[in-house]
Amino acid sequence: MEATKIRRLAGEARRSTLRALRDLLGGFGTAALALGVLLWLVVVAATSLIGIGLPLLPSALRALHAVADLERARLSRRGEQVLSPGPLPDRWRAARADPATRRELSWLAGHATGGLLLGALAIQLPVWAVRDGTFALWWRLIPADQATPGLGLWTVDDWPGVATVTLMGLCWAVLTVGLTPAMARLQAARGRRLLAPGPETDLSLRIAELTATRAAALDAHATELRRIERSLHDGTQNRLVATTVLLGAARRMLTRDPAEAEVLLERAQSSAEQALAELRAVARGILPPVLADRGLAGALSGLAATCAVPCRMEVDMPGRCAASVESTAYFVVAEALTNIAKHSAATHAGVEVRSRDARLRLRITDDGVGGADEAGGSGLIGIRRRIEALDGGLTVTSPPGGPTTLEVELPCGS
């Protein structure tokens, strides 16, 4: 009982330490960039005083916004989303008056110094822990005057000294486990506080953006409903009407010419069967039952198996996404494979599906003739609409002569 409890606690400590170290390391990366941008800004600002740096100011400000955006994206991946305050000015006069830019500058100064230091310490702590912890194993192998603990405070020449260094290694390890989560929070706190849109920020741009994608979603939804309505009215219903017409004709024929009535009944039956087949197709078009039964991975391998072109399928998807996202992914792959079979003359196709950080990424490739064009009515427009409706993105690379690659990114939405 006690042992499992300790094991669980140790597991938790290891996970939170690793997570904190990863965050601190990422923060160290942006902090290093921030330091570069800070130095560049100082140089440009200083030379602007004598006029030379003035033309460089906009580019320096853009670099500031860029590194701030990097940090926003990093923080958003690691926790609560940090919204961008929208496009920021790159003219000095406007930037000086812009509170968001001023906060970015303040963040830059702090992150390039304190943030960098925290990141460096986060790298150093585990290194010391390992170095001093294992000191006993190798201290005899190095020249006697270099046998110092991690901090290099004194030279060790006897076993009591080695024991002290090993103890220090243990202390470093305890400090790593104990301090890094707080350090990671500290390093991120400045960015979370200063890079988020302030109270004065007009979020209407962001709202407009969201409204537009939402409208596109509703639009795609309406298109989808129209498609379903059409296939019901023009397909299934027509088959059923034809059935009743044939049945009506057969009834009237029954007394006059039973043999002919039999022929009509036969046709009525096959018409009803067609209605059933079309109804199945429509229902499958709304939400493929295979998706609900076997999940996206199973449904996609079914697609690959029936594809006319040999298709390699790799799915790496630990969890499930929202039903709308999975069905969109399914349709995108189905449509893309149909395109490949119809137009590409490819001999091999490949589909990769990965979900990471609440994003679902699809990569569909073929070794065909390329030259896929959205204006060519190749179904690419339909694919793009469905993806954009879910706030996702599509990149098509298809030079003449091939190969063609479709890259899709969808928010998992669950």
């Binding site: 059409r230 009215h233 023009d234 219903q237 027509n238 088959r239 059923l240 009407v241 034809a242 059935t243 009743t244 017409v245 044939l246 049945l247 009506g248 004709a249 009834r251 009237r252 024929m253 002919e260 009509l264 046709r267 018409s271 067609q274």
Partner: protein
Amino acid sequence: MRIVIAEDDALLREGLALLLRAEGLDVVATAGDPDGFLAAVDEHAPDVAIVDVRMPPTHSDEGIVAAVEARRRRPGLAVLVLSAYVEQMFATELLAGGARGLGYLLKERVGRVEEFLAALHRVAGGGTAVDPEVVAQLFARTSPDARLDRLSPRERDVLALMAEGLGNVAIAERLFVSEGAVHKHIRSIFNKLDMAPDDRSDRRVAAVLRYLDGRERAS
């Protein structure tokens, strides 16, 4: 009776032609799109056209547009429009130019062969045939014409059947009343709708159009 059929669904088109030919009617041409239909009307000079509302290229109201154009080219051509569902707008669009020799039926009515043939003959003879579903929807709606509110429930029933295009005898049969009673109701309806007895227009049709007009003004 020379008949042209315009229906884009091939199986349904052939099924219709088969049904009508089996009844000894003369189907002179069938068409799958509006252009083919208008060409057939020009070429074969039919008495009746059976037209599907939804046809290529957009599958919206091409059939109605084609039917109106066919009536313009060949005045007096009887048209029976078949629709997958009831759309008031189609009915008003179609009947705006007068209701003589016009019909608007749901597709599935074709399967009730006797009633369908009766409607077809009625339309070919210059009468009207409006689907009961259309009429039901008209009555379900609160009418912008206050005069309609004066009608008693029974009179509404009679008007509904009139709207479908039935004659007095048929109405009497459906409502299980005497022909005289139907006659009395109809006189009362005309009174309440302010239609003078000496009105020269086809009052039966006018009464129906009052609903459709009201609907049009309201929209």
